[in-house]
Amino acid sequence: MSKRLIAAISVLTVLGLAGPAWSSSISLELRAGYHVPASAAFRDVYKGGPAFAGQLEVRLTKTLSLWAGAEYFGKTGKLTFTGEETKIRIIPLTAGLKAQLDSKSLCPYLAAGAGYFLYKEENIIGTADGSVFGFLGQAGLLFKATKFLYLDLYARYSAGRTKAAGPAILAAELGGFQGGLGLIIGF
């Protein structure tokens, strides 16, 4: 028996102990998506790229839950005109409410929340870092994979605008569109 098969059985065993996510009061979601910056200037430099997130959700009622999570988007790009390397890292800390229909196998939902965007950009011009508040909205579909494991097909939009500071720091939109897939484990 291969090590991979043993690992898979172990994970399924843990998930089985967790119980069905649908009716769980607490669930954990790991999400991966593709982030497309809303700002054209941002896209000129970095284009889009993968984003990753982790989210903890607490069920309040049958259709309403509270969630909080953190995301990560990091990318290397090139300055306009000079082509010199530039790097950016954005970490939104998010929290909000989620409303979902109660269904046996397919469950659409809507979520909205606030974000606290931590960011840092480094290149030959200098370093720009700081934080800014923003918001986000998300819609998705939950698919029942097993009685304790669900898939989350989602699309979200986030917004968080930095302010200009001095002649070299620009005001910029950090948010954007994101679509991806999440894995939800219920406890």
């Binding site: 430099v45 306009t80 005109f81 000079t82 530039t86 950009e121 290149n123 011009i125 200098g126 002649p167």
Partner: protein, 401 residues
Amino acid sequence: MTDGSFDVLTVNRNNPAHLFVGGTWAGNMAVIVSWDDGASFTSRQVPAPSGYVRAVAVNPQDDSTIYIGGYYYPDGALHGALFKTTDSGSVWEDIRGTIEDAPVDAIEVDPVNPHIVMVLAGGSLYKSENAGSSWQDITPAPGLSAFRINPEVPNEIYASSGDDFLMSEDGGWSWTSIAEGFALPDVAGIDLIPSVKMVYAWTRGGGIFRNRREALYAVSIASGPRGTTNPGPGVYAYGDGATLDVTALPQTGYRFKDWSGDLSGTANPLHITVGSDIGVKAMFHLAAPSGFTVARQEARSALMVQYINVLSWQKITQVTGVAGYRIYLVNGGSLTPLGQVDASTSTYWHRGVSKTGVYQYALAAFDEDGIEGETTLPKSGRVAVMKRPAAKTRPNWERSP
């Protein structure tokens, strides 16, 4: 040539390979002649026993005619000696004639009319117009110590007597003093540079004097590397008040920079009014690169921006030796160095400029010696790529109520 003693040497001005040395050979006055620039010599003895040579002269148009002067002791007493040969020394003729019986100190032959011969003997000056057949005393003042015929103007003769210095412009018949208050005691010799009419006199213990017979001044023209001048580099004689224009002519790819020396400036041609000796030198440097332009660009990331003035120009390719280019920021007429790039580069980025700033740049090439060339400004002069928007102002005209 080792035997004998030799006292004077004369060179035929018309044939410098012909040398005539006067001296004593085997106890007699003698002239030793070389027809091959000193490679070999032939001795020609003069029938003057126990004699000493003080002067030798030749007919410059026919140097088989030689004159030799000095003194000798034919009978135990001192006598003046003046001999002439017309066959290079085979036969000698005593031509002293009516000249005072005193040592002959100098002989000169008119280079234009060789029948005119002048002899200084016993402090007196004698002139023959028939190649020594007869003599006339033309002594301007007693006690002459030296004389010289101007080889280019033979009627012009200079002579020294006591402290005085004399000049004749009519072949010695009349004389005027040109000492101009200077005391020139005991002049030993006279020479001159005909082209600038400069007369030199050297004295026994009294120094060396010179006199410019006309207000001719030396104009020295020179050029630095990478060019020349018209008139070409050299030394020229000009009279007082004369004017001339000197044009600096740079090589291809170079420009005239300025004049250095006694005159300065950038005028080309340089107009000179001569009033003294003067020296000027034309300096050249690399021509400015062409096509110098400036454009504003921005290097932007998501959160930051940097404005860059991009300077570009055409590389100088028609000249070798260009080492690079220097870029300056022009601030109120003064140049502040910004940086330099090598010769293979034709752009320069002035980074971090203000978005609304107005900048003016200058560009110059420099050569392998570090000498900087002509400075150029961009075509647009002042660079104001992104100007601050003009403030809205109220119109001066208002509608009356």
